[in-house]
Symmetry: C2
Subunit: 293 residues, 2 copies
């Protein structure tokens, strides 16, 4: 897994650099109580306003609070993972998040977790359908009937109860899949590959599209919801900040700019009012996408 | 206390309207499980980019999670409070936060809490000294030797452990002061009055000062830390979002715009590098402020 995430980090960064034209910077950090990581980030790019592709390989003792976050009584762990988050300049290109991780406790239990989810800011339902179809196929190829469970997990996880809405249009989320089963590592590799197959075509389709100041404003308002989710609810952020990792590396997930406007409502009939309807769980794979990605 | 916060809300809003030239809007909300509140807010004003002055009067049952937040086994409560947060346009004018509250449990225990703290974005140490001197006097007038304890509470509370820095330059914070002691209500009134005596003179002194784009950029970066604090650590925000209040009303505290820039560092010798030195606990009341406020 350590080797896999290192290779994946390199592949992702090279692909994004060739799209964006800017190079990633790199920060290496050590964790006092064991291990460390390599954060690669790009800010103020041509396509990506902020991009972070981080890997970490850590080990040590879980304190009581962290142990309860991973629902465990054991207190020695080893973990590694890759986290990626891309915040594009253009509101016509969605934000994407990818995470694959491995976690091992001293008593021998070990498992994989993985997430890929999309947060768009403009009502292009064909993009959301395409995204879900690609990850549907990535799941079903490895494990029959796995997508619907993982998709439901994702809808439930990226949810803001105080708003009654999802962060984006979901994706898939699995956790605690036992690492002694080779199929589960295949799922990890499937989710990694699905980023290239689903997101890159959407970027290429949308990068030339012009957008209005209203589009940008809506993106900035929705990015504030992204911040709310990540700082109030996200378990990865809590674990990262609480486990002595690099807080800059953890918080690279936050959008570069966000507008916290109170009591905001879209004009009825606007693309933004339509977009709000998509931040609700729905079935994506029974549609047919005719367009070329 | 209910009467006091209603009068205080009116007084604050009138004072701010006369400074800003814009009027507050009002939202009344009801809480399903008992009570409600009145939120007054102003966005895109001349002086205040976002201002919220909220009162709430609520009652009901504490669920297990909320009971642990207030460290109680009892499960029926009544509470009321006023929360104010002002985010000025100009980075030369600090953000200010004021909260006074009353909490009562079924078994008869009841107490007051209060906070006033300042978050500046430009190194005007004379303003920070003036602010602390006013609140020092407000405390000492009512209760001898109370300031230093309340000031220490505040330094400890408005602290971002993952950054190793304070949110601003502190102020005072007290909680669980028994409401059967009349002196504690006098402290509440003192903290309310101290807002007018400390903050308004700072606004009037700084409102005419011009500022640079660099000043504004630093303010936007520091406002992101404000968001981090409020969403990750603030107990009032957790209680507000978890107790079925109005989430828009709770989140009015968030700055209108924030920049989450990763690995940002100020140029050495810049005003921003100097300002960072002030986000550390320090003694303010042994200075003399010569300037006129």
């Amino acid at each position: 897994m350590v080797k896999y995430i290192k290779v994946l980090q390199g592949r992702i960064c090279r692909r994004l650099e060739s799209l964006d034209g800017h190079k990633f910077s790199r920060k290496i950090w050590k964790r006092e109580s064991g291990g460390g990581g390599t954060s690669k980030y790009l800010q103020n790019g041509n396509i990506f306003e902020k991009a972070g592709v981080n890997i970490s390989v850590v080990h040590g003792l879980l304190d009581h609070k962290l142990a309860s976050l991973v629902h465990s009584d054991s207190d020695r762990f080893r973990a590694c993972g890759l986290s990626m988050i891309l915040h594009p300049v253009s509101p016509r290109i969605p934000t994407i998040h990818l995470n694959v991780r491995y976690f091992e406790l001293e008593d021998g239990e070990s498992w994989y977790g993985g997430v890929i989810d999309l947060t768009p800011y403009y009502p292009h339902p064909e993009d959301f359908i395409f995204f879900h179809q690609v990850i549907f196929e990535a799941c079903e190829r490895v494990k029959k009937n796995s997508y619907s469970e993982f998709k439901l997990n994702c809808d439930r996880y990226f949810y803001l109860p105080h708003r009654g809405e999802m962060r984006g249009v979901g994706g898939i989320f699995f956790d605690k899949l036992h690492a002694d089963n080779q199929i589960h590592f295949e799922l990890i590799k499937g989710i990694g590959q699905s980023f290239f197959d689903s997101y890159i075509p959407i970027v290429r389709k949308r990068e030339g599209e012009s957008f209005s100041q209203q589009d940008k404003k809506f993106q900035l308002i929705r990015r504030a919801r992204y911040v709310e989710f990540n700082l109030i609810y996200d378990q990865g952020t809590k674990f990262g900040l609480g486990s002595g990792g690099s807080s800059e590396s953890v918080l690279i997930s936050l959008p570069p700019e966000a507008h916290f406007i109170s009591y905001w409502q879209p004009d009825s009939g606007s693309p933004y009012a339509r977009m709000l309807e998509y931040y609700k769980p729905q079935d994506w794979i029974y549609f047919t996408v005719k367009e070329n990605y």
